[in-house]
């Protein structure tokens, strides 16, 4: 089987938002919608303070709360693990959005543009099908599928890799098949200590956070 998985190395991430911006470019998301973004989290009390930068977005869970609650089956999970949304089926009830414990889903009711009216590039990319329905990170599924069709390896060959991973200047993001023990993500997970977010909710996220070197 294939299980597409994202690994974010918290030791590397500097919160620059390059991935946030790259995702917006690749997916032409409207203002305010950030399928990938990086949080700035602070812990402790002065002077014992720590601060971490945390890439978040859809975790493409094994047991996705969104899919369970979706009344229309617009949200589905592929055999390779990617959780998808069929924009043409979605009724825009946002049940999935409140069900998601990772706040990964967005719904934009009206067409909105950076400066009011659409600029040339926005007009070129605008898609009415994505209005008033749920949207979220797709692991750049179109790039993955097109890449696979050409014999490329997602996570290794840039043309087959999610835009955020391609763009990351700290090499903090890695993408690959966790069911392949030789893959980049499998090796990262085997050689470093990691965790998943909100593990206790039983969502089974396919998004891992590295926090230290050394075997788990």
């Amino acid at each position: 089987m294939t299980r597409w998985t994202m690994v974010a190395d918290l030791r590397r991430c500097v919160g620059c938002q390059t991935c946030t911006a790259a995702c917006k470019h690749a997916n032409a998301t409207p203002p305010g919608v950030q399928w990938r973004r990086v949080l700035d989290m602070e812990f402790g009390e002065y002077p014992n303070v720590q601060r971490a930068f945390v890439p978040v977005g859809c975790q493409h869970c094994e047991d996705p709360p969104c899919m369970e609650v979706c009344p229309s089956t617009a949200t589905r999970k592929r055999a390779d693990g990617i959780v998808t949304i069929d924009y043409d089926v979605c009724i825009g009830c946002a049940y999935c959005a409140v069900a998601c414990p990772y706040q990964a889903r967005y719904k934009t009711d009206r067409a909105s543009f950076a400066y009011g009216a659409a600029t040339e590039n926005e007009a070129k990319r605008h898609d009415d099908a994505r209005l008033a329905v749920a949207t979220k990170c797709t692991f750049c599924v179109d790039r993955i599928d097109a890449g696979l069709a050409q014999g490329l390896t997602p996570g290794v060959d840039p043309a087959a890799t999610p835009a955020c991973v391609n763009a990351c200047i700290a090499q903090a993001l890695a993408f690959g098949d966790a069911d392949d023990p030789q893959s980049n993500v499998s090796q990262l997970l085997a050689q470093n200590r990691s965790f998943r977010m909100h593990e206790e909710l039983g969502t089974g996220p396919n998004f891992h956070y590295l926090w230290d070197g050394g075997e788990p």
């Binding site: 971490a52 709360p65 009344p71 229309s72 979605c90 959005a97 967005y106 977010m197 590295l210 926090w211």
Partner: protein
């Protein structure tokens, strides 16, 4: 810069912005309405009050569903809501509602079996509503263990309260089910702190005003009014009607707060902090 609808803030939990007063309206109308249908169909009401209650309940349920229809992004695809009966409580709620309407109308028309069926379907509808919230794993205040029972209990209290009001205003004697209703009123009163206590602090604080309303307008006042009513001989009076309405209003307030004020999302958390370069 305002983020888009349902837009992201964080990293601390924030009140979800996807479901607003319209979603609250669904739980308010649907809860009270199904409770009203249930009590009316279960009780020994007859004639015009029965029809009023059944149709009133249906109207409330319908108003709630209309609210939802007004909120969804693609209202003209609304029929897609029925597809995922396998796992989605929203699909199930819609399906039950689709059955509840004709059945309740039939009950209002006096068809005997329909009345019994209406009880079941109304109960199922209320139950489905409570499970809708519970399945929203992203909102701690909704998936909390006692959230669903609270929604059921308050729905019954609200519906029952309206049913008592209809009955009282129509001059009927206080029905035996009223005792059940009073017990439910107490149950709601006790359930509330048990529900609220384990919630995250933000949600707890956000629910304080609604809690106060529940205690005073929703419990103390109704009981005071019930006592007043009981002191007067004869059929149920306007006091009882007021008690029912007060209890119903308080329930509405609670559900509104639950949906639009206490609905902080899960936020983000790190199980471990990163080690950067050397162990501290």
């Amino acid at each position: 810069m305002t983020p888009g609808s349902g837009g992201a803030v964080g990293p601390d939990p924030w009140v979800q912005r996807h479901w607003d007063w319209r979603a609250a309206g669904n739980f308010i109308g649907g809860g009270a309405g199904s409770g009203l249908i249930l009590f009316a169909a279960l009780g020994d009401t007859q004639g015009a009050p029965l029809v009023a209650a059944l149709l009133g309940g249906l109207a409330l349920v319908g108003a709630g569903l209309l609210c939802v229809w007004l909120e969804i992004g693609r209202p003209w695809r609304a029929l897609n809501v029925f597809v995922n009966l396998r796992t989605s409580w929203m699909s199930r709620e819609a399906a039950v509602a689709a059955l509840l309407v004709p059945v309740t109308l039939a009950a209002a028309a006096g068809i005997p079996l329909a009345r019994a069926l209406a009880v079941v379907l109304a109960g199922a509808f209320l139950f489905a509503q409570s499970r809708i919230l519970r399945a929203a794993r992203g909102i701690p205040a909704w998936r909390a263990p006692l959230a669903a029972p609270l929604v059921v209990v308050t729905g019954l209290v609200e519906g029952g309260g309206l049913w008592l009001a209809i009955g009282a205003l129509s001059g009927a004697p206080t029905p035996p089910l009223a005792w059940v209703w009073a017990a439910l009123l107490i149950a709601r009163f006790l359930l509330w702190p048990a529900y609220v206590r384990p919630l995250p602090e933000r949600a707890r604080r956000a629910l304080e005003p609604a809690g106060r309303t529940l205690r005073w307008l929703g419990t103390a006042l109704p009981f005071a009014l019930i006592a007043l009513d009981a002191m007067r001989p004869g059929p149920a009076t306007a006091w009882l009607a007021l008690a029912g309405v007060a209890a119903a209003l308080a329930g509405s307030r609670v559900k509104h707060a639950l949906v639009t004020r206490a609905s902080f999302n899960q936020g983000f958390a790190l199980a471990r902090l990163p080690v950067r370069g050397a162990r501290p």
